[in-house]
Amino acid sequence: MSASTVPSQPPSDPPAAPAARLRLTGITKAYPAVVANSEVSLTVQPGEIHAVLGENGAGKSTLMKIIYGAVRPDAGVVEVDGRPVVIRNPQEARALGIAMVFQHFSLFDTLTVAENVWLGLGKSLSLAEVSRRIIATTQEYGLQLEPTRPVHTLGVGERQRVEIVRSLLTDPKLLILDEPTSVLTPQAVENLFVTLRQLAARGCSILYISHKLHEIRALCTACTVLRGGKVTGVCDPREESNASLSRLMIGAEPPALEHREQPAGAVVLEVRDLSLAREDQFGVDLQHIALTVRAGEVVGIAGVSGNGQKELLYALSGEDTRAADDSIQVGGQGVGRLGPMQRRARGLHFLPEERLGRGAVPALSLAHNLLLTRSDAVGRGGWLQLRALRAQAAAIIDRFKVKAGGPGAAASSLSGGNLQKFIVGREIAANPALLIVSQPTWGVDVGAAAQIRGEILKLRDSGCAVLVVSEELEELFDICDRMYVMAKGQLSPSLPRAEATVALVGQWMSGLWNTPANPIKQLLTVTVLRQACCGADDQTGPLDAVFEIAEGESLEELVGRIEASRFLQYSSTHDTLHGLVNDQPVVIVFGPSRGRPPEYLADPASPLVALLNGQPLHFVFRMNEGGR
């Protein structure tokens, strides 16, 4: 099955000269409509964290699929450890020591962690052996993961950990991660970075695909930039600025947004004590949601997807009409039981995050897609006035600079950014009193994203109330006047833009808005650092969560409180937390450290020791398994 000209197995002895772990030369791949990769070359050294940076559609994913054997290039050479290879399928890639963690997880919800990992490995191992290896690997990297837990009980960060552990069990020499942080809180991102740095320190090369500049600058030691399928630059991201990387990635710096201060007007949307049970098994219950949006302001809802945003938006748009009538009010009138059309008649327009299939019908023309939310071209008796409809579509295409084949082009023929511009245009041109937008720039190229954000701000300036739900914190910081944070079906208090910081919002994304924001308020505090070993090149500061010690509270009680808080569910990549009590270092060892030898804390290779930076260890608290 494999070509006889090339050995598909790596040589057992390492090459004498340090050959590159991976070298691509002249990789070209054309699809019928687009050249995804054109003469792409890329070199990854052993132990290097190499970024592949590019916009959506720049050809990153195709390139990774070629390396992983899922796609065959039309031309070009792939060398692994100095030897040219032909990778025909992912099995062959894995045999060469290449592992990949995909952006969309491929896990079975109903199976346990160990069973899921087992499925991805060879048949020769027993489940018990797989569980043992999972425990060994998680301890080695300080990851927290219980092999016996069913996957559907795991959070997104934990699911990603399952994927990573599954890859690590194959003992990869090259690990490919495709946009791994899009589903993580800022804290979980830091934890992921710790793991990746450990992995790289042990000689594993990492290919890190992203379009987030600050992450690449914080993590990676080399960077290849793609634009339009071609390499536009190879650099050391630590020596670059966001602006210079951005220039390489999109050929220009994104235009600055004009965000004028203006007083907010009357309340347009008010949600009071909205609680809704989940509709499907893996959904989220909404609990006591309260929010207001005033005319002339942009209000954001931050948070990791899957914390109730989808359910909240269904209730707000009218696609879910189970809410009590008064719990959702538009312009002072209860709309909780009204359907989408009736709400639209009251000025509430909504843009879902799924553009194709929900916001637009893929097979229908742009003109016909107007009819989903606009009935201007519907004449008396329900007759369609096709000429008026086409003119309306043409006007939107023109006004919002949509690149399309005209009003008759099928929605599915447009790129993500252009379709989003059209749909945004469709709702904005309706002159809504309230616009609710979910993930307005998700999967959209930088130019279109800037334009869409600009349009949202223009709409706000004209007196419309805007509610934006987004996973991209930077986007919310750019356009919002106020923010809420959503976590586990609950909504945080309102947070003015001026008081919002990445650290604070990140903490709230774990549901911790009841903890004080200011760590210096009291003398006795435990400052739980997010993995402090990334502190060296971390510019955003190490503060993660602050737990105040009540007068007379014992440290055991404090630890119990930390344990009970939801903080751990998100920050548990490491099962140890490091902090200060009255300026004395404290290490708190949580849950699954069980069974770990005490030497762990003294092992010079242990991240804990690095974390303490040689300072004496004053307290070690160890939580037992049954302690929760």
């Binding site: 070509a3 006889s4 000209t5 090339v6 030369t25 002249g26 070209t28 054309a30 699809y31 019928p32 409509a33 065959r72 290039p73 039309d74 031309a75 070009g76 050479v77 792939v78 040219p84 032909v86 025909r88 748009s317 009218g318 696609e319 359907g339 989408p340 059309m341 009736q342 639209r344 909504f350 879902p352 799924e354 299939g357 929900r358 916001g359 637009a360 019908v361 893929p362 097979a363 229908l364 016909h368 009819l371 989903l372 939310t373 009935s375 519907v378 329900g382 007759w383 369609l384 096709l386 099928a410 599915s412 023929s413």
Partner: protein, 381 residues
């Protein structure tokens, strides 16, 4: 090897070309079939494709059979376009026929011509009621409409059998399971003498036009179809999926019932256990071969009608079993589904390879020789 490759956009050419290619393949397989059965294939094809159109009378018979097929298919197109899978048009046809027959039995020597509209209305209502059961079970209990509508076909057959074996049996009918022959006044008016073609043909053509207007020129028709194309988009827009379900099933049920009424009060003239002729199932094929488009379904109804007549002629003239009709119908749908692949995919020929490359593999060609390039694959369109 030949490979299938996704097209960037669905091919317009093959949207229309696929049914023609499917017909061609069906004919080719039919030729093989005739040869295998020891019959002259030319004679066989003649019987299926020439005999039904060679005389005005034959053409009339073609229309007689095409009419119910087209009427039922028009209703089914509304269903299938709304993502409602009504497989039970046969049952709705039968109940329509029963209801129409019941009204027709009321007629006596003194009945006026008003009985014809009453018969037609009864047929429509009967079919709607039968489809309404499916809609109700789907709406209230989320029962699968495919299974429910299909099972109701057999229930409808039983209802018909009960009536013609029992209460409605003709006392002067020598105990045959059939009703008395309907009064002449109940006969659906014929278009011309000497042919059995009735005003049903005009109703069917008017129905095709009405369906075209509904689907492509009205807001209600648009809303009806969005649920079939993208259910989440319909929910987002606020188009009621319940309304779409009821409209789809009542329309198709009414259409099938209408066809049933036109059959019993037309060519058949009485209720017998042989009223169900498979039109309800054949109309599913008519609908899909006609691309669920009113104009396309006019042609596919005529084609399916040819298969019906050809099957009967093959039985009487070639001594072949009548089930050949079903074989041809099935072949056509099968070939169509296969050919539809070409709408979204195209066939790519294998690239020319250097002789040294391994024999069985296509597109990779960079083993060892750095910088060697492969000729871009040629695309077949």
């Amino acid at each position: 090897m030949w490979k299938l490759e996704a097209r960037p956009q669905p091919s317009r050419l093959w949207t229309f070309g696929s049914p023609l290619l499917a017909l061609l393949l069906t004919v080719l397989i039919g030729v093989c079939l005739f040869v295998a059965l020891g019959k002259d294939p030319v004679r066989g094809l003649q019987i299926f494709f020439w005999e039904p159109i060679k005389s005005p009378y034959a053409l009339g018979e073609l229309m007689v059979k095409a009419t119910p097929l087209l009427i039922i298919a028009l209703g089914l197109a509304v269903c299938f376009r709304s993502n409602v899978w009504n497989i039970g048009a046969e049952g709705q046809f039968v109940i329509g026929a029963v209801a129409a027959g019941g009204v027709a039995l009321l007629a006596d020597k003194t009945t006026g011509p008003w009985i014809v509209p009453a018969i037609i209305a009864a047929g429509v209502l009967g079919g709607m009621a039968w489809a309404g059961i499916t809609a109700l079970l789907r709406d209230r209990f989320n029962a699968n409409e495919i299974l429910v509508s299909l099972m109701l076909v057999y229930v409808a057959d039983m209802v018909l059998s009960y009536l013609v074996f029992g209460p409605w049996k003709d006392p002067q009918g020598y105990n045959f399971p059939q009703t008395k022959t309907f009064e002449a006044v109940t006969q659906i008016p014929r278009l011309m003498s000497g042919s059995r073609v009735s005003i049903g043909l005009l109703i069917a053509l008017a129905g095709a036009a009405a369906l075209w207007i509904f689907l492509f020129r009205t807001y209600a028709g648009f809303a009806q179809q969005v649920g079939g194309l993208a259910p989440a988009a319909a929910r987002y827009a606020g188009f009621s999926s319940r309304k779409a379900l009821w409209v789809a099933l009542l329309t198709s049920g009414g259409a099938a019932g209408l066809a049933g009424a036109l059959e019993v009060a037309g060519p058949i003239g009485q209720l017998t256990p042989y009223v169900p002729a498979g039109y309800g199932f054949a109309a599913i094929i008519v609908a899909f071969v006609g691309r669920l488009h009113p104009a396309g379904m006019v042609f596919s109804a005529i084609l399916m009608s040819m298969f019906y007549i050809g099957g009967e002629l093959a039985q009487s003239r070639l001594g072949l079993p009548k089930s050949l009709t079903g074989v041809f119908q099935g072949l056509l749908l099968f070939c169509l589904l296969a050919c539809d692949t070409l709408i979204a995919y195209r066939i790519v020929s294998p690239p020319k390879r250097p002789a040294a490359a391994p024999p069985s593999r296509g597109r990779h060609l960079w083993p060892g020789e750095a910088g060697s390039t492969v000729a871009p694959a040629k695309h077949e369109d």
